[in-house]
């Protein structure tokens, strides 16, 4: 593609003239300053040529024949779902949770929920029952949308104890809905395919995304309808989506990337999005890119590293010349992966950085800008980023290049989270003055490119997903043999980090292989494979502070042979 047809041909110039008011004007809006994410994704296209365009190209797991769903058909399907919510007495503002594999009606459910003014929360289907239940208890949804299999395996045992859930809607093909559930397809078939999408205040909640912290339960980051301004803008100018492009975001819609860039941004930009029902399969992926002529591909470092591991023969056996722009997010993309992309696929991967709280891409490499392998790029137009060091009274910004500091963002961008559900203080503590503290450490080179350095807390990032050590430790502590548990991330060639647990046993228990397997089994059953530890080591005791907190930082330093740093708060008994 020629630079002239890139949506953002000159980064500096674009930033200088950009305003969020201008980005607002690229949306249709619903009058009087009101809007709705679903309106921008679907309704606005009705009556235009986009209506007959394919919105979802669904790749069924067991078939090579894609199923195309047009914008019009998706809009009608979403309208049916909105009508189902209305008919069931679900009120705007109430929450609807989605727990499903990637099937078209999940997308209809998300958009129907937004049409009706309800708040949607995605849940990752590889979660075990415990993370699902925790998130349900915190967010108290009125409706859970799921599949028969996931319901039976992960929800049925405890759902009766969660009074907030009034309806469990099953969206897969069913012969008969189990007791306590309803068959969404039948309800949708009986509902009207017309629904007047509700005009929302820009500050009305739209999405609740959960993320993990170092301590305590997961945090529910609340996003509002105005976030769509950011989704649309970054889809167009950062991911370089052009109307009619074939676009593939490989992230699961159970996470924020799969929602912001796997549903919203592609639809507001009128592209055709590939939705693959299957899990990672290198040959299948290359075949999809080739056969579907994917132009814009947004994927993640773990997947890229798996592709690299499989060697250059597979990609060379496929025609991947349709690829115009490739981007990556989830964790820092190693420089070799960028170079591999260039060498083997003919294009570099453009790394970008954002997090659940930011709602959309904040820092990125751009189509028209030189990619610096290993760098997350430069802030998007309209976002002011800086590095800060903490002081006794607050923070001070770092101006000199190549100094490490905490990455901070000036508040005010449209997709910024507006709160942590039920945790006002935690939300307040995320800001100092006008600056949002991201918890990520970074440095900035003399040319303004940002480089990720690490987290300033104990959160683990595995396959791009944040895992809170506390959640894992809590489950291990449920086992009668476990006295103490400390959980850290250890480097992994493919996943970036994997979860490792250290366990000290109560007197009378034997640290052996049988017990290790029992603990692994318990953790996997409760947490699911994405969150459970891959390794468990036994220790006589774990290093603790004098106040009794497990020093995960020290566990990690000892495990990896790193300097132990400040150990002045270490309780003497746990020194080794």
């Amino acid at each position: 593609m020629q630079a002239s047809s890139v949506n953002l041909p000159d980064y500096e110039q674009f930033c200088a003239s950009f305003s969020w008011a201008q980005a607002w004007r690229e949306l249709a809006g619903m009058g009087d300053g009101r809007l709705n994410i679903a309106f921008e994704a679907l309704d606005r296209h009705m009556g235009t040529e986009v209506a007959e365009r394919t919105a979802i190209r669904f790749m069924p797991r067991d078939s090579q024949t894609p199923v195309d769903i047009s914008y019009r058909a998706l809009n009608e399907r979403a309208a049916r779902f909105a009508n189902v919510l209305q008919d069931l007495g679900v009120r705007p503002g109430e929450r609807v949770y989605g727990l499903s594999h990637r099937i078209p009606d999940l997308y209809a459910a998300v958009l129907g929920t937004l049409k009706h003014g309800c708040v949607f929360t995605p849940l990752f289907p590889a979660f075990g029952p415990e993370p699902i239940r925790q998130r349900v208890e915190i967010g108290e949804p009125a409706v859970l949308v799921t599949s028969e299999r996931l319901y039976r395996k992960k929800v049925a045992d405890w759902v009766a104890d969660t009074p907030s859930i009034r309806h469990v809607l099953l969206i897969d093909q069913l012969d008969e809905a189990p007791p306590g559930t309803e068959d969404a397809a039948s309800l949708m078939a009986a509902a009207s395919d017309q629904y007047a999408t509700r005009a929302m205040d820009p500050e009305d909640p739209a999405l609740l995304h959960f993320t993990s912290g170092t301590t305590g339960k997961p945090k529910g980051a609340l996003h509002v309808h105005e976030a769509v301004v950011n989704h649309h803008m970054t889809g167009r100018y950062v991911l370089d989506m052009h109307p009619g492009d074939i676009y593939w975001c490989t992230a699961d819609p159970g996470w924020v990337t799969g929602t912001s860039y796997g549903i919203i941004a592609p639809l507001t930009n009128g592209v055709t999005m590939v939705v693959d029902e299957a899990e990672f399969d290198a040959e299948r992926w290359y075949r999809i890119i080739q056969d579907q002529k994917v132009a814009v591909w947004y994927t993640a470092p773990t997947a890229i590293r798996m592709l690299i591991k499989l060697g250059p023969e597979l990609p060379r056996a496929h025609d991947l010349s349709s690829l115009r722009f490739m981007a990556s997010v989830g964790e820092p993309l190693n420089p070799e992966a960028v170079i591999w992309g260039r060498k083997v696929l003919g294009k570099p991967f453009h790394d970008n950085w954002w997090q659940t709280e930011t709602g959309g891409i904040m820092i990125s490499n751009y189509a028209s800008m030189e990619v610096r392998p290993g760098s997350m790029g430069k802030p998007i137009p309209g976002v002011e980023a800086a590095l800060a060091r903490k002081t006794e009274t607050g923070i001070e910004l770092i101006t000199e290049p190549d100094e490490t500091g905490e990455l901070v963002l000036k508040k005010g961008w449209p997709s910024m989270f507006r709160g942590y559900l039920h945790q006002k203080e935690k939300y307040r503590n995320s800001f100092v003055g006008d600056w949002y503290l991201t918890g990520d450490l970074a440095r900035r080179d003399a040319d303004g490119y940002y480089w990720f350095v690490g987290r300033d807390d104990d959160v683990i990032k595995s396959s791009g997903h944040l895992i809170g050590p506390f959640e894992v430790e809590s489950v291990l502590l449920e086992h009668p043999a476990v006295a103490e548990a400390g959980v850290i991330g250890v480097p992994d060639e493919i996943a970036g980090e994997t979860v490792k647990a250290f366990v000290a046993l109560k007197p009378g228990y034997q640290a052996d292989e049988r017990l290790r397997k029992e603990l692994m089994g318990l953790a996997r059953k409760r947490l699911g494979p994405a969150v459970a530890p891959r390794q468990i080591d036994f220790r006589e005791e774990l290093p603790r502070t004098r106040s009794g907190k497990i020093m995960r930082r020290l566990l990690r330093a000892r495990e990896l042979g790193l300097p132990e740093g400040d150990t002045s708060t270490l309780e003497s008994g746990g020194a080794q």
């Binding site: 299999r149 996943a495 397997k517 318990l522």
Partner: protein, 80 residues
């Protein structure tokens, strides 16, 4: 090695990778991903364990074909 012996070895390795699976009621035809919640990293670990135990290298591009234990046994039987 006959199929029963092969199955015993594979299930032992599988139970190391995913100790949450109840082997007493294990269904060879059930999907490892859907029914037993194995993710792609589990499948990689299983393939590595099978390689170590039986000496059969499962090329990376074949990982994804391991839908169920019956598939894996078919694959291994031809190669052990």
């Amino acid at each position: 090695m006959n199929r029963d012996e092969l199955r015993k070895a594979v299930l032992e390795e599988l139970s190391d990778v995913a100790p949450d699976i109840d082997m007493a009621t294990f269904d060879d035809r059930a999907s490892l991903q859907d029914e037993y919640d194995l993710d792609s990293m589990d499948l990689l670990n299983l393939a590595a364990a099978v390689h170590k135990r039986l000496g059969v290298n499962i090329p990376d591009q074949d990982y994804a074909r391991m839908r169920c234990v019956a598939d894996l046994l078919d694959y291994l039987q031809e190669r052990v």
